[in-house]
Symmetry: C2
Subunit: 549 residues, 2 copies
């Protein structure tokens, strides 16, 4: 990897410590962000941006808000933390007033630059969904975006995507193909292609993506960042151009798990106007998972080998955690030996913290994934954008059109049969979930050159989604975490658990990420420590979480 | 009403007290049941029956089982309790050994005759689903039937139904139309037409029905019996010819709520092989309903008017219970003044026990109901039996064919849009459920002559389902309870609550039914007292329920 040593460190802990102390001004950060975006030229990351002047005006208002609370900053302001600095934000010099997490006055996302995938409404910029002919001018922010702005974050612009969020490569956009920060001949993943790269190369602290079949995780794996795909219904999908409306999730890309969690803590919330919004416990009590009448399942993990796995939820360390992994014959990397090596390294890291791994049958999961493009859910995609595709076929990306058009001829009978089939697969998966606390899989089996994807856009796309596509169909939550590099390319794991276990997953993912010792994204910076104890993955709740300097 | 004074009293408490004391033999009861069935001749109630000899052999085995436990019966055995007796089973003479509920040795349904709707598999009898050409010979009992038999109940036979359970009148069967026990020119309701009548006229203690759009409630209302439609997924639907597979429920008809509850306590249970089976709390804790982040809803019931409604679950009396009723302009009886009068009487009974009624907007409920035949769920019906309908149209009832055939041309796009529409309606209904504990509606607005239904089979069917069709779509449980008579015809109310509240509903329904003072079904018998304290609706759990003599 060749990290850019000029890359600013935009991790939330670093920025917020700087803002609070006055060493760093929001205007400085935003100016640096725009400088860097302009210096990169046409990198296919953005579809539209707010003008620099507008972002700077908002930054200046935030600086004034800060000064009203803490007084004028010390002069002269320090330069931004250079690359190669520790990235630690917990030294005493970062919190001179000693207020730490007890300062309630700066909003949670104060001064953090972010990007939004261009299938989500942000008032003031068009929503294109990756299709110029489809574009419209939203008059309101999506509720999730509105919450981020209200919490002090600064929206830089809208990022590129596979058209209509249909694809996992990033190579299905008329706005160009964002490429891997680690090898410009390779894809960066999709469909949230621009969101992943924007975070990885240090243009924003976090980016909002979407994830129906893996669009919030595949780009994370290929750009060495974190991809947090929350439970369905945890974040409102109002203001989103739907892919599969019953499955779509807003997701977060960030350099670290705590940063992704911070954004989710602001975005999440029940929305009575979104039919698919849900009230979910983020951290259900340990004893509610197995029903009282549940017959004992054959256990992969004999009790004598460790503590009672069912009770191992944060804040306790993952001692005795039961980790499901794929059987060897169901695990393929399509010949990518580097990917396999990093996968093995990742499992060693997990076992190193006292978790036990056991092989499970991935069959029901893979079968559920196959339904998304081989079953009736194509009709759900067609329900969203099919009228446009039918009316203006020439304005649709040819690959996307090829994928979407069969959705028109799926029958209601096939749809109900597919729903029942999925229900049966979910029943099988539920039995597996009685045996394990978390499922750990490669996020993607391998990656491909842009040219290869263009030559076989549908076949290679299916490969990319092998370990991601089933997640929303089976009502699961997932976090994609970087784990290591092989031959200069990043590889990661995804941690998966039933919906509602987001907090549990995030805690586990933070611990895993911290143990990798990896630099974050393509920035060259170390993972910032965060939380009162300087411990990554501090198990605070989403709602009371505080990132301190 | 003209009750048949020769009708045996088949209520479970009466039979079981007799069996235990030895005054009554199972063989006697079964012989009387077959005598009575034969005396009625062709009443269109049955599609098939087990031979008398086979039922008597099983009865004899049960009598022997009883004698092995309690010794030989006192000779001579007493005649069956004549009609006009109190029906009470709690006098000391009924429990001479004083064992009461502490006798674990007789199975829960020992010696109780029952019937099964003929779209549910019973090994040894064909399953016709009301269509001779469709009939097949099942090799296994449906799991629910199997459980009933294992608990000592005696299956008499299979009952008539609207073909493929598509209809609410009972007038869509090639096996004839069962008629009201109170007026032979009137329908008895459907689709579980034979099940309702078999219970009402005293041929069985209880009957298994099914309920997708109201088939387990409409016949109850028209025959003065109880119709218990449990939560979706509480009873396995394996061995059922599906109507709408995602919505179908097995249901129970009985003369009393405790008898219906007794049968359900045996039938219910998670079935891993049924994709739509669910693990459901029958009695969720009182404080789990409103989510912690729930915004306060505008309340129909100002707190100063009574106790905190949310905590009013059984076993406490329904003091302060919040009862939702329809707004006057949404309440129609299609001109049936008797039905309206009994409805008003029913609400007075409910208010008489300290419950508060408040008007709610029935709009989302009615809109959801309209989706069942006017939306994509017709495609789900077609997924079940469409191939047969297409292949052998002449063997399908013409009205049923007219209803089903449009299901073939519904698209997947329409289906997913319908699912989202339903989700939005459910969201609106959920808001209403934050305001009320139970919704009380007429079970049917009115009833019709068989001839009228034959003249307008689809229009009048829709009227019959006005207050029932939405229940499964919105994932609710319901109990239809007799409330009173007008002009010699029975009318009832249905109590409705969210899925999982079955026990709560059953308790409430038992109290309401007891307060009506009505004779049960068309038997002329009084409601049997049951439970250790002789109190109807004793709030024991399904699984530890014991009916004592």
């Amino acid at each position: 990897q060749t990290p850019n040593l000029q890359t600013p460190n935009l991790q939330a802990a670093v920025l917020q410590a700087g803002y609070r102390s006055g060493r760093l001004r929001v205007t400085e950060v935003i100016a640096a962000v725009y400088d860097r975006i302009e210096a990169r030229g046409d990198d296919a990351v953005w579809i539209s941006r707010f003008p620099r002047s507008q972002a700077l005006a908002r930054a200046a208002a935030l600086d004034a808000q800060r000064d009203a609370l803490f007084g004028p900053p010390p002069a002269p302001t320090a330069p931004m933390a250079p690359a190669g600095s520790t990235g630690s934000a917990t030294g005493p010099d970062h919190d001179p007033d000693g207020l730490g997490g007890a300062t309630p006055d700066l909003p949670a996302l104060f001064g953090l630059p972010f990007a939004v995938k261009d299938n989500i409404d942000v008032a003031g910029l068009p929503t294109t969904a990756g299709c110029p002919g489809f574009a419209y001018e939203p008059t309101e922010d999506a509720p999730a975006v509105s919450a981020l702005l209200a919490a002090g974050a600064i929206c830089v612009g809208k990022t590129n995507l596979d058209q209509f969020a249909t694809g996992l490569s990033g190579a299905r956009s008329p706005y160009g193909t964002p490429v891997s920060p680690f090898d410009p001949t390779l894809i960066a993943g999709g469909s949230s292609s621009g969101s992943g790269v924007a975070v990885a190369v240090g243009l924003v602290t976090f980016a909002v993506g979407t994830d129906t079949a893996g669009s919030g995780r595949v780009p994370a794996a290929l750009t060495n960042v974190v991809g947090l795909k929350p439970s369905r219904g945890l974040v409102s999908t109002r203001g989103l151009v739907p892919a599969c409306r019953s499955l779509d999730c807003l997701s977060v890309f960030a350099l670290s798990v705590p940063d992704a969690r911070l954004a989710l803590s602001v975005m999440n919330g029940y929305d009575a106007a979104d039919p698919y919004s849900r009230r979910l416990p983020l951290m259900p009590p340990a004893d509610d998972a197995p029903a009282p009448d549940a017959a004992p399942a054959a256990s992969l993990f004999p009790p004598e080998q460790g503590a009672s796995g069912n009770n191992d939820h944060p804040p306790r360390p993952p001692h005795g955690l039961r980790v499901g992994v794929a059987r060897p014959e169901q695990l393929t990397f399509f010949g990518d030996r580097g990917a396999r090596a990093v996968y093995d390294d990742g499992l060693r890291l997990i076992r190193g913290v006292g978790a036990r791994t056991g092989e499970i049958d991935l069959g029901p999961f893979l079968a559920a994934g196959a339904l998304l493009y081989g079953g009736p859910w194509l009709a759900e995609r067609f329900a969203s954008v099919g009228e446009f595709v039918t009316a203006r076929p020439d304005e649709v990306h040819p690959v996307v059109r090829t994928v979407l058009e069969p959705g028109a001829s799926i029958t209601g009978v096939e749809t109900f049969r597919g729903l029942t089939h999925l229900r049966a697969l979910r029943r099988q998966a539920d039995e597996i979930w009685r045996d394990i606390d978390v499922l750990v899989l490669p996020t993607v089996p391998t990656t491909y050159p842009v040219e290869a994807v263009q030559a076989d856009p549908i076949g290679l796309n299916a490969r990319l989604g092998r370990y991601t596509t089933f997640v929303n169909l089976l009502d699961l939550a997932a976090v994609a975490v970087p784990v290591g590099f092989a031959d200069g390319l990043p590889h990661g794991l995804t941690l998966i658990a039933p919906a509602g276990r987001d907090e549990f997953l995030v805690d586990l993912a933070a611990r895993l990420h911290a143990r990798t010792g990896l630099p974050v994204g393509a920035t060259g910076h170390a993972l910032a420590r965060s939380g009162p104890a300087g411990r990554p993955g501090t198990p605070a709740g989403f709602l009371d979480l505080a990132v301190v300097g």
